[in-house]
């Protein structure tokens, strides 16, 4: 008399399928997760010590990015504005607004404002703003429509493969230097032709050597 019953066959097979499927799903899930915003930290809301609204400063006041991010064309870091820069205007306007209290406090105590970092690369990645900006890569390309962000979020995955896309074929991401800070910039005329033309003009070429970013 067999120890198994007809339903054993089904059970046995189902279990096998579950085991195999489960293993596959776990691996696939991890790989997938690494590619979705949840995994790359995109669209993550981040509390800043001061409710700074880029939207308002760019659209309503028409301030150029470089007014505050002064060193973007000259150094690796774009440069977080010193409190003094804020006070240039806010000593005059909104100089009583409670929202700006932390700024004034910083200015008078000399304590820096503890901004929270949004775009964060590993320490072994050496990203340099100046070279990108000078070779015609716009702020928008990596940081997105800042002019539409009440609070800054990371819009690009910032994964290595994402960097590589552009490092292998920069042309589509180039724009004339004068439009670097323009938001929602559209190439007039044939984008491909323009891209290639800019490649020549700024002497841009693909760089995928490891030491370009890792030192």
């Amino acid at each position: 008399m067999s120890v198994f019953r007809p339903r054993s066959n089904t059970i046995f097979r189902v279990v096998l399928v579950l085991l195999a499927g489960g293993a596959a799903a776990t691996l696939g899930g991890l790989m997938g997760y690494a590619r979705v915003p949840a995994g790359t930290g995109q669209q993550e809301e981040i509390q800043q010590p001061v409710l700074f609204d880029h939207r308002h400063h760019i659209l309503d006041d028409g301030i150029d990015c470089r007014y505050c991010h002064q060193t973007v064309e000259r150094t690796a870091t774009a440069g977080i504005p010193s409190t003094a820069v804020c006070m240039n205007c806010h000593s005059q306007v909104w100089n009583r607004s409670p929202r700006l209290e932390p700024v004034r406090e910083s200015y008078f105590t000399g304590q820096p404002i503890p901004w929270v970092r949004v775009h964060q690369l590993p320490d072994f990645v050496y990203f340099n703003h100046s070279i990108h900006v000078n070779k015609g890569v716009g702020c928008e390309t990596c940081h997105g429509r800042v002019d539409q962000m009440p609070a800054i979020v990371q819009v690009q995955p910032l994964t290595m493969s994402w960097c590589l896309e552009c490092h292998r074929n920069p042309a589509p991401n180039l724009r004339p230097r004068e439009d670097i800070t323009v938001m929602g910039w559209q190439p007039e005329g044939d984008p491909v032709a323009l891209g290639n033309e800019l490649m020549k003009r700024y002497d841009v070429h693909a760089r995928t050597s490891c030491t370009t970013c890792h030192r």
Partner: protein
């Protein structure tokens, strides 16, 4: 031990040395074979087994403690340094992989060559292969500086957009070893099916029936199944044969493809494969001699088997010796002073004792098998087989450490000294190997009953020409 095995033992003793020793003593019928061959599985756990198991368990514990420690503090826990960046880790890896060659070789190649004496030792040898390869598989992982990134060695689509480097012999290793393990495992399991079914059907307890029933997947000896089974088994053997040769060839590439004097040698692939078979058969002997005594398998694993294996040892031992010879000759002949120095250094450098031990164990010891009496003497066989295993470990040490510690620039020469952790891992793997093997002996028939039954029929049909399909099956 059952009555009839005693009888067989008696038969063995009465055999006249001038007569060819049979591969199967007596004419036990199927039921008898079932009884004797499954006896170890059904019998009560023995004291001896428990003692050995406890020992193996302890050593396994040591192994994983040592590995844990290495992971915690880094490779610095070992004796490795610059220039000797590879040492025990890789020595053990190559040694175990080599041992893991006999099984598949015996069952696959001997099957293709229709060697009757294969039948009663192949299951045993395959199991040994699996467990040896498991030991070997540990090392590529634990010898990494950052083992938690080991998965970077596999070509999976990562967000880094970087791929492994397929020019690296190490990557070939990854593929070769994992393929070899998978293939051996499946080959072994497929071969096990009929016996598992037999166990299921001949076991008394309900639990055992369920367990064996699950693992035998519902095998019921149907002619429809046999038809696919035989050809599948044959094909697996056909694939495993080149595979087993490729694996050690690729392992030897780790060295041959580099340009270090003492490593960069074209003789390596054949010489490694020969060495692998050499050590593999040695290990089979080391294990099978006590096992057949303990379980009373003298009638199925007869002196014929042992003697044949001794012959294989002799043959492969000579090949290995030839490998050494040609290495040294080419070094001298090349006129390359770096190459020449390495071989001079092996015999005269700080590691000369290991080198001499290697020569003794691998070149001298096998020579005693020219004498038939030595081949038939259990003790000589057993001790020789152990010595060969030691010798083969020394060979890997000589190749890896001795070549590394004095290479091109004398300024960077240095001495390698193994640490406690190094030793623990080496001994630990032996314990872990033993552990798995003991479990195998206890829960799986270590001689393939179905194949021995078939063999018996063949021996009966000897007179009449075998059936064509059956020939294919063998």
């Amino acid at each position: 031990m059952s009555v009839d095995t005693k009888r067989h033992a008696a038969v063995v003793n009465r055999v006249d040395p001038l007569e060819p020793v049979p591969v199967l003593v007596g004419r036990p019928d199927d039921r008898e074979l079932n009884q004797t061959l499954f006896a170890p599985v059904w019998a009560k756990t023995r004291k001896g087994w428990l003692v050995l198991f406890a020992l193996a368990l302890a050593l396994t514990g040591l192994l994983f403690t040592a590995i844990g420690y290495t992971f915690a503090v880094g490779i610095g826990a070992w004796g490795n340094n610059i220039p000797v960046a590879w040492a025990y880790g890789i020595v053990n890896f190559v040694w175990w992989i080599g041992i893991g060659h006999a099984g598949t070789l015996i069952s696959a190649i001997l099957l293709l060559f229709q060697q009757k004496w294969r039948t009663s030792i192949n299951r045993f040898a395959e199991a040994m292969t699996l467990f040896a390869v498991i030991q070997a598989l540990l090392f590529p992982l634990i010898h990494l500086g950052r083992p938690w990134f080991a998965f970077w060695l596999f070509p999976y689509p990562s967000t880094l957009g970087v791929w492994p480097n397929f020019k690296s012999p190490l990557l070939w290793d990854v593929f070769a070893v994992s393929t070899y393990f998978t293939a051996s495992l499946l080959f072994w399991y497929v071969g096990l099916l009929p016996d598992l079914a037999a166990l299921r059907d001949s076991s008394k307890s309900h639990a055992k029936r369920v367990v064996y029933g699950i693992f035998s997947l519902g095998w019921r000896g149907s002619a429809r199944h046999w038809r696919h089974y035989r050809i599948a088994y044959l094909l697996l053997a056909g694939l495993c044969t080149p595979l087993v040769l490729s694996v050690h060839t690729i392992v030897s590439f780790d060295f041959a493809v580099s340009q270090l004097p003492g490593w960069h040698t074209t003789i390596f692939p054949p010489y490694f494969v020969a060495g692998a078979i050499f050590s593999g058969f040695a290990m089979v002997l080391t294990l099978i001699i006590p096992a057949r005594k303990a379980f009373g398998f003298e009638h199925v694993i007869t002196e014929k088997h042992l003697e044949n294996m001794a012959k294989v040892l002799l043959a492969t031992g000579l090949m290995v010796a030839y490998g050494y010879l040609s290495e040294h000759f080419i070094a001298w002949y090349s006129g390359n002073k770096y190459e020449q120095f390495v071989f001079w250094n092996r015999a005269n450098g700080p590691y000369a004792p290991v080198y001499l031990l290697m020569l003794f164990c691998n070149v001298l010891v096998p020579q005693i098998f020219w004498s038939g009496r030595a081949r038939r003497s259990i003790w000589v066989l057993w001790i020789a087989s152990i010595l060969v295993n030691v010798g083969m470990w020394c060979e890997r040490f000589v190749i890896i450490v001795t070549s590394l510690h004095r290479d091109f620039l004398p300024s960077s020469w240095a001495i390698f000294k193994p640490t406690v952790v190094d030793w623990s891992i080496l001994i630990g793997t032996i314990g872990f190997f033993g552990l798995l093997f003991l479990l195998f002996l206890r829960f799986v028939p270590s001689v393939s009953a179905s194949e021995v039954k078939e063999l018996r029929r063949e021996l009966e049909h000897e007179a009449a020409p075998p059936h064509p399909v059956e020939r294919a099956a063998r």
